[in-house]
């Protein structure tokens, strides 16, 4: 596990050894000569909550695109659960492997009701012909209703998702990830555009969720990152600049130089 992280001097907190869930090694992606990811290496362990920060253009979203199969890397390896080579799979296969994603801009299905949005996300049959003859069981309804109350949208169950407020859409999208029941969640700026109160609630929800899954959060909001209290990876120009606790990275001279200090 000797990767290119420039943080040999970091004070590692004592953590139990866990299995590696997501492993990126030497990943490079270039768009017309611009290297969005430059020899990026990153390891996320099972059950971990990881926050990723970095200035605009640091490669945060591209990293998520690579993991979820939207973008193929030019070189490097990406493995999930040790042996699943994600560079060979498409988005659908990767999603069915157990990786869920929340986009930067909330994308819910505006012409479906809140309930129906969750129904489509609920783990279960994905075959197209089977969906033609699928019917909802009481058990599945119960799980949808439980999720609705967890994200506080029970009252909006029958409204079209397009009629929700921005914050409610963010929550619905998190609810969709929740009910999708993935082993690894990638959250791209989950609190962008939320009020302070909603941000706090989202942080509490994420801390609750991580008890039985692995979550990677990309975020700009430093107060939010601090409130998560998780291990932080700083990306810069497509590779890892520093990694460690929030206090460690905030005092890292290079990080201050490229990002926080300005």
């Amino acid at each position: 596990m000797s990767d290119s992280r420039e943080s040999p001097d970091e004070t590692r907190e004592v953590r139990p050894a866990r299995d590696v869930l997501l492993y990126l090694n030497g990943v490079t992606v270039s768009f017309d000569g611009f290297k969005a990811l430059n020899d990026l290496s990153l390891v996320v362990e099972e059950g971990e909550l990881r926050t990723i920060i970095g200035p605009n253009g640091a490669g945060k979203t591209t990293m998520m695109d690579v993991v979820t199969g939207k973008t193929r890397p030019d070189s490097g390896e990406v493995f999930f659960r040790g042996n699943e080579d994600l560079t060979r799979l498409d988005e659908v296969a990767i999603a069915n492997l157990g990786i869920g994603r929340k986009f930067q801009r909330p994308t819910v299905f505006e012409n479906l009701t809140v309930f129906e949005n969750l129904e489509l996300a609920l783990a279960g049959t994905r075959g197209i012909l089977r969906t033609l003859f699928a019917s909802e069981t009481a058990d599945r309804r119960g799980r949808i209703e439980a999720t609705l109350s967890r994200i506080g949208l029970s009252a909006q169950s029958g409204s079209l998702a397009g009629a929700l407020s921005h914050g409610q859409k963010q929550w619905l999208e998190i609810g969709m990830l929740l009910i999708h029941d993935r082993q690894l969640l990638l959250l791209d700026e989950p609190v962008a555009g939320l009020t302070d109160r909603e941000t706090e609630e989202t942080a509490a929800l994420i801390l609750d969720l991580v008890r039985d899954r692995t979550i990677v959060v990309v975020e700009h909001d430093m107060a939010f990152v601090r409130s998560l209290g998780a291990r932080v990876t700083v990306l810069h120009e497509g590779s890892v600049l520093a990694e460690g606790s929030i206090d460690y990275v905030q005092n890292h001279p290079r990080v201050i130089e490229v990002y926080l200090g300005r």
Binding site: A95, T107, F109, V114, L160
Partner: protein, 389 residues
């Protein structure tokens, strides 16, 4: 049979838009319209004195049949455009292919009654000095084989074409353009005499269909009734799909395609399924159309025809099945009337209709009525169909 747990008696509050898809109110309307079309029209045709004001004269029956064939075609486009956001501008090509299959059957029924009295070769083949029947004409003397081909020829073409297009994620306006190219290519191909489909003149001069004289009023009424039945079945199939979970997947991918992929549904397969099914429906519409109008020729492939179908659907209200039916019947009724009364203005009217519906009532006639009945604050402001284009 939609959702056994949810559908009955509506005691569950309305999370599902699909709730009540098969409630008595729907069946009452469906059967009411069916009865009006299938019983009232024949009664007014057969048993009311031709001089009466309410009589349906013989020439009206195949005309109504033609409109209903167009309604099936419009339904097929609405299924893929209104629900899955696939604007195919080649839908009439599948219609024409189904029509050609039926035309081939009807040609082979002519037998020795043709001008050249050749028991096997249709007249145009004798004229073009064919020595024997081309291989692809085999089997079309059997009605069952013909029915199979009416489904398979458009279906397989749509499957292959759709697989290539959707797998490469061709969507929006690019898909519309290549479907136009497809129907144009077929137009050019079918114009050629050595394709073996009668070239420019197409297939015509039919005599009988499953033993019935195609020109007799009784057969015409029978064909009309078959079309009513076909429309009814097509409507129920489309309704079942749009109210199923697959229907919700389609609406979801229409609005946010990549999100559907990240949820683990194969967008390619979902699109391929409805695209192929819509092509089969269009094929059957064409097959019902040909014996009623008495001819099929390559002009049915002309790109303008497919664009007209899109206009019917948008005038009626895309994303509502009944809208597609209403749009097809109304626009074609207008076309029949206007091309008779003021032939030179028809194309301008058609163009104006399209502009008007796009700019002023994007949800078409049905949308307009729904708005008048209950202005709903929960509707999203825009139809996001165009966003992906």
């Amino acid at each position: 049979m939609a959702d056994p747990i949810i559908a009955p008696s509506g005691q569950v509050p309305g999370e599902f838009q699909a709730r009540g898809a098969w409630r008595p109110g729907f069946w009452a309307g469906f059967i009411g319209i069916g009865v009006a079309l299938a019983i009232v029209v024949p009664v007014l045709n057969l048993w009311v004195s031709p001089n009466s004001a309410i009589a349906v004269p013989d020439y009206i029956v195949p005309l109504l049949g033609k409109y209903l064939c167009y309604a099936i075609l419009a339904l097929s486009l609405d299924l893929i455009w209104g629900y899955a956001g696939i604007l195919s501008l080649g839908q009439a090509a599948f219609f024409a292919l189904g029509g050609y299959c039926m035309g081939m059957y009807l040609m082979r029924q002519i037998g020795t009654r043709g001008v050249y009295q050749n028991p096997v070769l249709p007249d145009f083949m004798v004229f073009l000095q064919y020595k024997e029947l081309p291989w692809f004409w085999y089997g079309f003397d059997h009605f069952a084989w013909t029915l199979l081909m009416i489904a398979l020829v458009p279906g397989v073409l749509a499957l292959v074409f759709g697989w290539l297009a959707f797998r490469s994620r061709v969507s929006g306006v690019y898909l519309s353009i290549i479907t136009q190219a497809m129907t144009y290519a077929l137009l050019l191909a079918f114009f050629r005499n050595d394709m073996g489909f009668g070239g420019n003149n197409g297939l015509t001069d039919y005599k009988e269909i499953i033993g019935w004289d195609v020109h007799s009023p009784g057969t015409r009424l029978g064909l009309y009734l078959a079309t009513v039945l076909g429309l009814g079945i097509a409507y129920l199939v489309c309704r079942y799909i749009t109210k199923s979970k697959l229907g919700r997947v389609l609406l979801a991918l229409r609005d946010a395609e990549s999100r559907v992929r990240f949820l683990g549904y194969s967008v390619t397969n979902a699109k391929l399924f409805v695209f192929t099914l819509a092509a089969v429906l269009a094929g059957f519409a064409g097959a019902l159309y040909v014996p009623q109008v008495g001819i099929i020729n390559p002009s049915e492939f002309s790109p303008g025809n497919s664009i007209e179908v899109a206009i019917w659907v948008s005038v009626g209200g895309r994303g509502t099945l009944i809208g597609a039916v209403i749009g097809a019947v109304l626009v074609n009724f207008g076309k029949t009337w206007l091309t008779g009364a003021f032939p030179e203005v028809w194309l301008f009217v058609l163009g104006a209709l399209f502009v008007l519906t796009t700019l002023i009532f994007p949800r078409g006639i049905v949308g307009l009525f729904r708005q008048l009945r209950r202005p709903s604050p929960q509707q999203p402001k825009t139809m996001p169909v165009e966003e992906q284009a």
